[in-house]
């Protein structure tokens, strides 16, 4: 583990919803251009953990972070109140559990991220729309109907559109919150392929309910239980020789 490859590092992260502590003293390295999966039973805090990375919790009241998430190479603590959450979200993108395209055209969905960054030139936006749709393996499906509503797409296509939307602004890290849980198996396969392809360009953190998905695509896996990261390591090791009893029980389907 060389620091050069480190994209982010979580140090002693605690998180509270009001007075309830949801994340307890978590530590985790995130390696650059790798896929890191967070697995664990429902309610263990995986999504809460993920949403710390783009300060989503700042949108709601009475939430409190403690500890740090250091983003490299600039070495800033992205959960510090001194850092503007807008800046963090401009650098770290997110794809949600349920596809949530805007009720606008396919084109406008992708253009939005550029427009809010002050990019107005049509030629640039056109170019980015085409490029990101290609990156999201959606270009061939939609090239003839870029200006038709995004809601006419199937669920899997909508999710790929959301991935394209997140990619359009060149994020350094892309967060996936159970991106395939609302999607059929064939579309899921396509999105998994896409994620493996995307890691050439971007660091990926994915929360998944499906341990097989983690085994298929993740380079590193962290197992979370009751708000704590119990075990972290290369995916192969976690799935073959877990060192903690709870990890082993979860992996083998004894609980979850």
């Amino acid at each position: 583990m060389v620091t050069e490859n480190l994209k982010a590092k979580v140090n002693n992260l605690n998180f509270y919803y009001g007075n309830t502590q949801v994340l307890k003293n978590n530590n985790l390295p995130i390696f650059e251009k790798k896929i890191t999966a967070l697995i664990g039973p429902s309610g263990c805090g995986k999504t809460t953990f993920l949403r710390c990375f783009n300060r989503m919790h700042d949108l709601y009241h009475n939430n409190r972070y403690e500890g740090e998430i250091i983003l490299y190479p600039d070495n800033i603590n992205i959960i510090s109140p001194l850092i503007d959450p807008i800046e963090v979200r401009m650098r770290i993108g997110m794809v949600f559990q349920k596809p949530n395209p805007f009720p606008k055209s396919i084109y406008e969905n992708i253009a939005f991220g550029l427009r809010i960054r002050g990019i107005k030139k049509k030629s640039i936006i056109d170019e980015v729309v085409e490029k990101t749709l290609k990156d999201a393996a959606l270009w061939d499906d939609v090239r003839d109907r870029l200006h038709s509503p995004a809601f006419n797409l199937s669920g899997g296509q909508q999710q790929r559109l959301c991935i394209a939307r997140a990619l359009a602004t060149n994020p350094e890290i892309l967060l996936f919150d159970e991106p395939t849980s609302a999607i059929d198996p064939i579309a899921t396969g396509k999105i998994e392929e896409l994620m493996v392809e995307l890691k050439k360009k971007v660091t990926i953190i994915i929360v998944t309910h499906n341990i097989h998905q983690a085994a298929r695509i993740a380079d590193y896996t962290a197992f979370m239980y009751l708000g704590e990261i119990i075990e972290f390591g290369p995916t192969e090791k976690i799935f073959t020789v877990p060192s903690d009893k709870r990890t082993e029980l979860y992996i083998s389907g004894k609980f979850g």
């Binding site: 009241h61 979200r89 939005f112 991220g113 509503p149 997140a166």
Partner: protein, 302 residues
């Protein structure tokens, strides 16, 4: 076996009976409106013509028309919309998207709910004290418009809030996750997606205001007026004049009220005819509201 069949028969009878009673109850509402409209129409039919719309009120029922009332209502509604829409929409957006949930917000919310229930004459009294006596706007179009704007403000706020609340949170999160600020999210998503519901609420509010009589009488609208307010467009620079805002006026419901209270039978015909026109105006506004709602619902689904 026979027992069960008998039992089912009795239960089914009640089923049937409720269906009939329910249907009749529903028809009371529909029939009332239809009968009301037909009755008014029959009474007023004799006067429903172009001349009626383009004539001023007169001592002679046959020559009297609703021109000044129609123009007055239009101008007052213009002032009402101009004031109530931006205020109501901005307050609604603020309460939904910006306000923190604390005791102060709660008090404001309760107050707005209560405002919607305040009798309209109270708004008239408020406008009389505030706009006529304090600001010295006189018994004018602007005073009437402002009084009605206050009256429908809670309706506009509530409609705006409800249509904003219908936007799923996942859409907000998608926008924020891309790095949008609050205003960028509101401008590009919240306002456009809630526009259908907001517009519907605005029109419902205006169609309520158009029929209000009490507050307009309270602020001193005239009942007999044979001239139009000054023109908003003038020949000299800057070509636009706001003098009309301070002119005396009358509105449709007052004109109806005035004619009904006359002893001569012929004026009652005028009242019915003007009632028909007022009713058509209201129904038309409601129809537009329904159409807008339909259009937006079809365009946006979550």
């Amino acid at each position: 076996m026979e027992d069960i069949k008998k039992r089912i028969k009795i239960i089914k009878f009640w089923d049937y009976l409720f269906g009939i009673v329910g249907l009749l109850s529903t028809f009371v509402g529909v029939l009332l409106l239809v009968i009301l409209f037909i009755d008014l129409f029959i009474d007023g039919a004799a006067r429903l013509n172009y001349k009626f719309i383009t004539s001023f009120p007169s001592r002679f029922p046959k020559e009297a028309g609703i021109l000044s009332a129609l123009v007055g209502t239009t101008l007052v509604m213009f002032v009402t919309a101009f004031v109530a829409v931006p205020l109501g929409v901005m307050a609604g957006i603020y309460l939904e998207e910006y306000a923190k949930k604390n005791w102060l917000t709660n008090i404001i919310e309760i107050n707005i709910a209560n405002l919607a229930g305040v009798p309209s004459i109270i708004y008239g009294l408020l406008a009389l004290g505030l706009f006529v006596y304090f600001f010295k706007f006189g018994e004018s179009i602007i005073t009437g418009g402002l009084a009605l704007a206050l009256l429908i403000l809670p309706i506009v706020i509530t409609a705006t809030r409800e249509s904003i609340r219908a936007i799923p949170n996942s859409i907000r999160e998608a926008s924020y996750a891309l790095g949008a600020t609050k205003w960028q999210t509101v401008k590009n998503h919240i306002i456009p997606y809630s526009l259908g519901g907001t517009l519907t609420g605005i029109i419902i509010g205006l169609s309520r205001a158009i029929g209000e009589t009490a507050p307009v009488i309270t602020v001193g609208a005239l009942t007999f007026i044979t001239f139009l307010p000054s023109s908003p467009i003038v020949k000299r620079f800057p070509f636009i004049s706001f003098k009309w805002l301070f002119d005396p006026f009358t509105v449709m419901p007052i004109q109806v009220f005035n004619w009904v209270s006359r002893p001569q039978k012929e004026f009652h015909i005028n009242a019915a005819a003007a009632g028909v026109i007022l009713l058509i105006m209201t129904l038309l506004m409601n129809a537009i509201a329904i159409y807008i709602r339909y259009r937006f619902r079809r365009k946006i689904k979550w």
